[in-house]
């Protein structure tokens, strides 16, 4: 498309002034060059904006860009502006310099005319060359999650989530211990559990720090514990549903979907806070993490499952009478429902 525009006959351009202005802009633009030092996975390390007709790059101290890489020669390359174009000159270096871009493969950089977005490899370092007309991504609006994340990382809210989590964990320990326990006996496992769960947001923050993203550890902790508390709640809800429903009902399945949704949301927000990535990629990452968690735990269960289980697997969830909300079946109904099991197992017996 661009080619056809520039090749347009001059008579079609009805305003000469605009054309003149444009060439002026191009001239100024051409004498400015942006050189980015980037890491191997193309993350930005440093950015230099230069407006000189000749730029020297190398390891010694009279260079315009000094690179601290032992595989780079003291005067490695120079870039010269000739007629609005930038040309690389390799100063017969030991390890050479190479150029690559999206369209072409890696090849020697000497005498190469630079295009916008080219990447030059010298030694073990990489430079990306951009001109100032290089397009940028459209501005991202603040996501509604941002305000939620900010609320969760607010010190008061963060502390309350942590305390709530610790209290629930302590209560769960207390309720399931069959001996009498005192406060300090509960404290150690409870604090241990809270610290254990804090490893997750800390780990995510560490990974985002290592991958040169913003760490935002408070936001990670705030969001993670808010969701851990929601998961406690969904556990409780699952208990109530299992207690009140019969084995034939689908309500228990619905609850499993809730916990999957919670895990997915947590992973999505973790990656939203910790990493810059496209919306699609973030969905894929969160979905894969969820799959790994649930699929992995299912696989572990499945692989531990014996070939034949002589024990019955049944739902014996009971809760105190105040959580009893559904009405009870009659003996007749129960016998009727149970009688269906005989045919089911009989078919299985015949099948094998």
């Amino acid at each position: 498309m661009e080619v056809t525009t520039t090749d347009m006959p001059e008579s079609l351009i009805d305003n000469d002034e605009i054309a003149e202005n444009q060439s002026l802009i191009e001239k100024i633009a051409a004498s400015e060059i942006i050189i980015e030092e980037i890491s191997r996975n193309h993350k930005l390390l440093h950015r230099h904006r230069l407006s000189k007709p000749q730029i020297h790059i190398g390891r010694d101290y009279h260079n315009d860009i000094i690179l601290d890489d032992p595989h780079i020669c003291p005067s490695h390359i120079s870039i010269d502006e000739i007629d609005g174009q930038w040309k690389i000159t390799d100063n017969q270096t030991l390890n050479g310099s190479y150029i690559e871009n999206k369209a072409q493969k890696k090849r020697p950089a000497n005498e190469h005319i630079i295009n916008d977005g080219d990447i030059i490899t010298l030694g073990k370092s990489q430079l990306r060359i951009l001109f100032n007309h290089h397009p940028v991504e459209p501005t991202l609006p603040f996501s509604p999650f941002e305000s939620f994340i900010n609320l969760m990382r607010h010190p008061v809210v963060l502390l309350s989530s942590l305390i709530l989590f610790t209290l629930i964990a302590g209560n769960v320990f207390y309720l399931n211990t069959s001996k009498e326990v005192n406060f300090s006996q509960l404290l150690v496992p409870t604090i241990g559990m809270t610290l254990g769960f804090a490893l997750w947001p800390a780990g995510v923050a560490l990974v985002s720090y290592l991958s040169k993203n913003e760490t935002r550890i408070m936001a990670q902790i705030g969001i993670s514990f808010a969701f851990f508390n929601l998961m406690w709640f969904s556990d409780f809800l699952e208990g109530v549903v299992k207690f009140n429903s019969t084995s034939d009902s689908l309500a228990a399945l619905l609850i499993v979907l809730i916990s999957i949704a919670l895990a997915f949301s947590l992973f999505w927000l973790n990656s939203y806070i910790g990493f810059h990535m496209s919306a699609r990629r973030r969905l894929v990452v969160a979905a894969s993490m969820t799959l790994l968690l649930f699929g992995g735990s299912y696989l572990v269960q499945y692989s531990n499952k014996p070939d034949f289980d002589p024990r019955p697997q049944y739902n014996a969830t009971i809760m105190m009478p105040s959580f009893l909300i559904s009405s009870s079946a009659s003996v007749d109904d129960f016998i009727e429902d149970s009688s269906k099991l005989f045919d089911k197992t009989k078919q299985e017996a015949v099948k094998e």
């Binding site: 019955p312 969830t317 003996v331």
Partner: protein, 422 residues
Amino acid sequence: MKVFFSLALFLLGTVLSKTSFAEEQAEQLFNQLKPSLFQIKLIDKASGEKSSIGSGFQISNDGIIATNYHVISSYALHPQKYRIEYLDGQGNTGDLILKSVDVINDLALVRRDVVQETPYFQLSKASPHKGEQLFSLGNPHDLGMIVVPGTYNGLKRESFNDRIHFTGSINSGMSGGPVVNKEAEVVGINVATSGNSIGFLVPHDKLVALYDSFLKAPPNSIEQQMTAQLMASQNKLIETILNSTWQEKQLGEAAIIPIIDVPFIRCWGNSNADKADALILTAVANCSLDENTYISSNFFTGTMEIEFRTMQAKDISTNKFYHLYQQQIAHANAGNRADKENVTEFQCHDDLVMPDNQAINNKTVFCTRAYKKFPDLYDVLYLAASVDKDQQAIVSHFTIAGVSQPNALAFTRQFMEAVLWK
């Protein structure tokens, strides 16, 4: 003094002569019966080695030998894998053919080819009387045929299927051997021991019945015959239980449980009343059928267990009480041993159930698994946990192995209505 001496000598003499008489009698019996006694061996075809041994005795002139079902059970279930062999007193061996079994009374009939007529055991016409001296014959631990004298102590009172209580050491390998009276007539068959000279015998009339029915109509297939026997046995058991009185009994402070008034179901009780630091006061009543039916070393059936457990919270919140209570009911298991070859996995149904009298509200679980070789027989498991009182609870639980669907459901219904709050 002289008189006294001679009297002592006389007494000593009578004692001596008495023991030697018993010995002589045993020896005489043994020699007389030896030709009709056999060691029964199950030979694994692939390895050619014996996989189990027992004893047997001939009961007809055409070569029918009686033994225990459990001696030849592997063959009955896998006839292609094994063959049955006998070894007689002279060291002769030969193959045996399985003819008929009584799986409930642990009996089997096998047949050997006879060329000439051989002596055989006579089956007694009458039961022995209590205290009568009997002689058990068999080949313990492959050590050779022996004779063990002992005493008849009547039928075991608690057993659903009759067993003779015999005082005398029966050891493994003697299974299937005959027990005879002084007239050398068979009155029982060695079947089990519970150590310290307590042995159990299958009464001879079971063998008579099996042999008679074999003469009348030999079974078409051993598996079908076993199915029919298991079916009939559980029918008899459940019918007896449903027609017996179910006594109401109080357990713990407020629960009413049924105690089935039949001698063959025995109950035991326990509680943690002595544990001062327990958070929940628990009382348990456990009733069970004190016998089972051997099908193979991995598969037993015919068992029945009933358990009641009351719990009373001591100074703990209702929430904590229910958490601990839930742990108590999470691991109910089948009452009988069974493996993949013989049963399916359990399938369960659960619901909240309140009987029409509204005397209790239970979270109730019912599970069943089907038998693969014996159609229409099932193992069932029932568990009900009361959820209507804040500080106390009753768990009622039973398992029955090898029961038909109608019997299982009839028992379950009666059981469900018999457990309630006072």
